[in-house]
C-alpha cells in the first residue's frame, strides 16, 4: 500500500479529520450533507468544503428521543453525532429530499442540531419530462441563491472551475474502478471503495492528487491474484469495512458496485458546455439513480444486470440498511430479475453499530460455495 492510499485508509477510522484540519487551516466554512445527490459543486464553488455525513457504528443515546427505532441507522447515528457535538466542525447542513426519513430528519436536524446554515434541496421525484427538468433547474438555482446569501456570490466561472475539478475526480475514480475490473487483485474491495468514499470527505483537488498517485502505482502493478470469486454489491451506502475485509478473506472480491459512496458517487460527468447550474442539473438527472428516484423509462434491474455482466461478476449481494424503505421496496423486483438472469444473490440487512461479521460470514461463504461448486 502506497503512502497516499494509506492516508486515505486512515479515514475509515477518522473520517472527518480532513474537514477539521481544512477548517483550521483555511478558516473556511464546512457544509455537511447526507445524500450524494447534493449539488456539491455549488458549495465548493462558494469556497466552502462539502463533506458527506454518513453516520457511524455506534450505540445511539440522544437521537433516540427524536427518531423512532424503525428509522435507518444512518439517520439515527448521524443525528446522534450532531446532538453529541461531534460534528461541531460543520457550519451548516444540506438535505436532499430522497426518502421520508431524510425529509423528516431535515426538520428535526434544523430544530435541534443548531448549525447556522440549513439547506433543503427538493429534487423532482422522477427525473423525467420537461416540467420536471425545468423544476429541477429552478430548485437548484434557488438553492444556489440560498447558499450565496450565506457564503457570498458564486460566479459562473467559479462554478465552471469546480465542475472541472469534480469531473477530474470522477474520471480518476472511474479509471481506477476500470483497472480493477481488468485486474481485481491489484486493489482490495476495501481499498477500492475507500477511494470513492474518501472523495466526499476532503477538498476535491487534494483528493485528486491522492488519486493520481494511486492510479500511477496501480498502472505499474502487474497482474495480481485473479482467483477470487467476483461479486457485485448493491445498496445505498457501504461503510462496513470489516465486512468487505471478511469478503476478501473468504475468497471473494467486490469488483463493482451500485453504492452511493461507490460507483454511483462518481457516475456520469457534469457537462462542461452548458450554463453551470443547468450542467449540475443535467448530471444529477443522468447519473445512475437509487430507488428514491424511480424512473419509468429506466429499468434499474436491467441496468444493474448489464453492469454485472460487464464486470463479469458471478454473483451479487444486497447490503441494505434495516428499515431503508426505498431499497427494501426495490429488493423483490431486483431479486426476481437477478434470479431470472441466473445471478445468485444474497440479501444482507444491517444496522450501523450492531453488525455481526460472523453471522454474515456464513451467508457470504455459502454464496461463494454456491458459485464455486
Amino acid at each position: 500500500m502506497g503512502a497516499g492510499l494509506e492516508k486515505l485508509a486512515a479515514l475509515r477510522e477518522d473520517p472527518y479529520a480532513p474537514a477539521r484540519s481544512w477548517k483550521e487551516r483555511t478558516g473556511g466554512k464546512v457544509i455537511g450533507y447526507f445524500c450524494s445527490l447534493a449539488p456539491e459543486e455549488m458549495i465548493h464553488a462558494a469556497g466552502a468544503l462539502p463533506v458527506r455525513i454518513s453516520g457511524e457504528n455506534r450505540v445511539i443515546s440522544k437521537s433516540g428521543a427524536h427518531l423512532q427505532s424503525y428509522c435507518c441507522s444512518l439517520a439515527r447515528t448521524g443525528l446522534d453525532m450532531a446532538l453529541e457535538g461531534e460534528l461541531s466542525f460543520l457550519d451548516g447542513t444540506v438535505f436532499v429530499h430522497t426518502c421520508d426519513t431524510m425529509q423528516r430528519l431535515s426538520d428535526i436536524w434544523r430544530l435541534n442540531a443548531g448549525f447556522v446554515f440549513h439547506g433543503d434541496v427538493v429534487l423532482p421525484v422522477r427525473f423525467e419530462g420537461d416540467l420536471a427538468r425545468d423544476y429541477e433547474v429552478k430548485e437548484l438555482s434557488y438553492f444556489k441563491e440560498r447558499l450565496e446569501e450565506y457564503l457570498g456570490d458564486i460566479p459562473d466561472d467559479a462554478l465552471a472551475e469546480s465542475i472541472k475539478t469534480y469531473n477530474r475526480n470522477r474520471s480518476l475514480l472511474s479509471e481506477i474502478y476500470g483497472l480493477r475490473l481488468e485486474n481485481p487483485g491489484v486493489l482490495s474491495s476495501v481499498d477500492a471503495l475507500t477511494l470513492a468514499h474518501s472523495s466526499a470527505l476532503m477538498e476535491k483537488s487534494e483528493h485528486n492528487t491522492f488519486l493520481e498517485e494511486v492510479l500511477e502505482e496501480l498502472k505499474s502493478t502487474g497482474p495480481a491474484d485473479g482467483s477470487k470469486v467476483r461479486l457485485f454489491g448493491v445498496g445505498s451506502l457501504m461503510d462496513q469495512w470489516d465486512f468487505l475485509g471478511m469478503l476478501e478473506a473468504v475468497g471473494a472480491t467486490m469488483v463493482d458496485d451500485d453504492f452511493c459512496n461507490g460507483r454511483r458517487y462518481f457516475d456520469a460527468l457534469t457537462p462542461e458546455d452548458l450554463a453551470p447550474v443547468e450542467a449540475v442539473a443535467a448530471r444529477l438527472w443522468e447519473r445512475e439513480s437509487c430507488p428514491c428516484k424511480h424512473l419509468t423509462k429506466r429499468d434499474r434491474a436491467a441496468r444493474l444486470l448489464d453492469r454485472i455482466r460487464r464486470s463479469d461478476a458471478r454473483g451479487a449481494f444486497f447490503f441494505l440498511f434495516k428499515f431503508c424503505e426505498p431499497h427494501g421496496f426495490d429488493y423483490p423486483y431486483l431479486k426476481a430479475a437477478f434470479d431470472k438472469a441466473g445471478i445468485p444473490s444474497l440479501l444482507l440487512e444491517i444496522e450501523q453499530g450492531s453488525v455481526s461479521i460472523e453471522q454474515l460470514r456464513t451467508r457470504v461463504e455459502a454464496l461463494v460455495e454456491t458459485i464455486k461448486i
Binding site: K335, P344, L347, S356, Q359, T362, R363, E369, T370, I373
Partner: protein, 260 residues
C-alpha cells in the same frame, strides 16, 4: 475409505462417519460453552462407535457455527451447503430444505444434484428456533420433548402474535393467566413458529418436496403446523439433527475421492 463430517451447532454437536455409501456411526452431544472441545468429542465418539482411529479417516469436513474453531484437520464448509447435500443424500428428490436448529432457522432451495440454488436465514432473532421452544417449555413447565405430541390434541390453538422470544414468553404467561390450556398454548406456539418460518421461506422458490431438518423437526406439532401453512407434505428424515454432519461427510467423501 472412511470419512467423517462434524457439525458444531449452537446447542448440539453432531458427527457422522461414512464408509463408502453407508453411514456407519454417529454421535450427538450438547455443545456447551466450548465448541472446539464439543467438535472434537463428537468426532471421537462417532469414531469410537465405528471402531476407527482418527488416522484411519481419509477426510473430515467441519460445519456449523463452530466449524472455524475445530482443532483437528478438517476442511470447513458452511452448514447451508452441508444441509443441502445431506438432504439430497437422504432424499434425492428434495428441492426445499427447512432447517430449524438451536439458534437459527434457514430455508434452502436445491437442485437435482443437491446444489444450493438460493437460501434465506433468520437474522439475529431466535424466534422459530430450538431455543425459542426451550424458553416456551420452561415457561409452561413442560418437557421440551413432550410439546409436539401434546399440541396435537388442541382443538382451538391459542393466539400467540408476538414473534419475539421475550415478548412471546410474556404472552404465553398471559394466556395461562387467562385460563387457556397448555395444549392450546403449545399449539399456538407451534403456529407462531410456522408463520414466521413461512414468511422467511417465502423469499425462495418452494418446490414440491420439503424436507425438514434440525432438532425442531423432532417436534411433530411444528411439522404439522408447517404442513398446514405450506399446504404440502413435509418429510422428516430419520435423523433430522444429523443432516448437516451427514452432508459434511458426503462432501468429505468427494474430497477424499478427488485426492486419490
Amino acid at each position: 475409505m472412511p470419512v467423517a463430517g462434524v457439525d458444531i451447532g449452537s446447542l448440539t454437536a453432531k458427527a457422522v462417519v461414512m464408509d463408502g455409501n453407508e453411514m456407519i456411526a454417529r454421535s450427538l452431544i450438547p455443545t456447551g460453552h466450548n465448541s472446539r472441545e464439543a467438535g472434537r468429542r463428537a468426532l471421537e465418539l462417532a469414531l469410537e462407535e465405528a471402531g476407527l482411529k482418527e488416522s484411519e479417516v481419509d477426510a473430515v469436513v467441519a460445519t456449523g457455527y463452530g466449524r472455524l474453531a475445530v482443532d483437528f484437520e478438517a476442511e470447513r464448509v458452511t452448514e447451508i451447503t452441508c444441509h443441502a447435500r445431506g438432504a439430497h443424500f437422504m432424499h434425492p428428490d428434495t428441492r426445499t430444505v427447512i432447517d430449524l436448529g438451536g439458534q437459527d432457522s434457514k430455508a434452502i432451495a436445491i437442485d437435482e444434484r443437491g446444489k444450493v440454488l438460493d437460501f434465506v436465514m433468520n437474522d439475529k432473532c431466535s424466534a422459530g428456533t430450538g431455543r425459542f421452544l426451550e424458553v416456551m417449555a420452561h415457561a409452561l413447565e413442560i418437557e421440551l420433548d413432550d410439546m409436539g405430541e401434546l399440541s396435537l390434541g388442541s382443538k382451538s390453538p391459542a393466539s400467540i402474535s408476538s414473534v419475539c422470544t421475550v415478548f412471546a414468553e410474556s404472552e404465553v404467561v398471559s394466556r395461562v393467566a387467562e385460563g387457556a390450556s397448555k395444549v392450546d398454548i403449545v399449539a399456538g406456539i407451534h403456529q407462531a413458529i410456522a408463520s414466521r418460518v413461512y414468511a422467511m421461506a417465502a423469499r425462495i422458490p418452494i418446490e414440491t418436496k420439503i424436507l425438514m431438518t434440525g432438532g425442531v423437526a423432532r417436534n411433530i406439532g411444528v411439522v404439522r403446523a408447517l404442513e398446514a401453512k405450506f399446504s404440502r407434505e413435509i418429510c422428516v428424515p430419520e435423523m433430522p439433527q444429523h443432516t448437516g454432519a451427514l452432508g459434511a461427510s458426503v462432501i468429505a467423501r468427494e474430497k477424499a475421492a478427488a485426492a486419490v
